[in-house]
Symmetry: C2
Subunit: 232 residues, 2 copies
Amino acid sequence: MNTPADGTAEHAHTTAWIASVLRTRIAAGELTPGSKLSEEPLCAALGVSRNTLRQAFTTLVGESIVTRIPNRGVFVASPGVEEVREIYRVRRMIEPAAVLWGELTPQVLDGLETIVERAQQARDSGSVPAMADANQALHGAVVALTGSASLQELMDRVLAEMRLVFHSMASAPDFHSHYVDRNVTLVKQLRAGERQEAAEGLRAYLDEAEAELLVHLGAEQDRRSEMRQRAG
Amino acid sequence: MNTPADGTAEHAHTTAWIASVLRTRIAAGELTPGSKLSEEPLCAALGVSRNTLRQAFTTLVGESIVTRIPNRGVFVASPGVEEVREIYRVRRMIEPAAVLWGELTPQVLDGLETIVERAQQARDSGSVPAMADANQALHGAVVALTGSASLQELMDRVLAEMRLVFHSMASAPDFHSHYVDRNVTLVKQLRAGERQEAAEGLRAYLDEAEAELLVHLGAEQDRRSEMRQRAG
DNA sequence: TGGCCAATATTGTTGAACAATCTGTGATTC
DNA sequence: GAATCACAGATTGTTCAACAATATTGGCCA
């Protein structure tokens, strides 16, 4: 039938496929937070029926990647102050828990070290995106210590929401460079088996990161409301 | 959480409505684990279109209340050994984390005490379902200490899955009476501010509960395969 | 009995239609 | 001139009927 615009979408599971396409585009910042996903244009663009698209929407709503307002449509989620607080509430629980009670095999520790090295290289070469990636990878790997797919999934969702937060900020300053050394320390402590100290340090790190992010976000919101005032 | 009267489908949000109806029926054990949810009969029974029902299905799949096998249909989830392990992997992380780092206000402590009292009364009157309810309520309340809606939601899903496990067991012996005293101790420790000890005890409790549940489940599976053999 | 194949049933997806709701525009009124 | 209201257009929510693709069933044959 109609081969979708962007390439090879076979008869695997159209719904899941569409959901994945949208997920990817949102994560890439191609679809910016707050923007509306109108059904008809998207149907045409993706080459699927409206019904299938709506089913994909329900999937993404369940992942809170997207927000549905009844009779108004679905919008790319645009996390604000409260969402950021919630993100850090989650992280402050599951990350230190993983550090305290996760399974620390030598291979896993090697993996963590590889990631922090990547982060250091990214910092040295001044690549902010690479640093962000490495940072997220590290914290994802920390949660993976739990061995729980559900917690890993929750963390993935949280990290995806974090990316949305960064996308919604016009100026994303080097939010991550400060924290590379902290991550090095964290992995070092894990290697040394100092779980208690690692967990404490991690909680302190998360507190600071949240505070800093909230400041940036507040400034961003002020800037935005000011622009709105100027425009109106 | 308002349970809508089982009447005619209103023009509110049919999809969400249907999802909630199915959720309730599954939680009540009306739809037993492993049973197939055929589209046409359900459409007729619920008075909705096949498309709407399928959309409700995707919601429930996202909550892993239900399993979808491509081209075969959706089935009520029937958690087995691996799912139980995963349940306790999650609980062993987030419950002790909540105990260690959650916010302990006097009101919340009062609430916890009310729940354990309810559990004690249920044990005294020998009501297993009431005991199970109180037990789940307590552990839900513990996770609520985190203040995080996401973690609360994850815990709710986990507890719902636990109910499915119990539903799938023909004989559900007094799995909970052993643990009432432990919960009393837990709340007492929280009241005393002995978080470290509370977390330790909670982890030990979860280990034991998991082991016992796995034994029951193993016996159940043996019984079942034996019956299958006898029948075939 | 055991395996193969066609007939049947079920799922996955589409397209068009309709009711319900929202949005924006212009007319009316003060 | 600003606020209010009504109406037409657009969008969403849901249904129905159809079709392709896949699974299941039953019969047939060896």
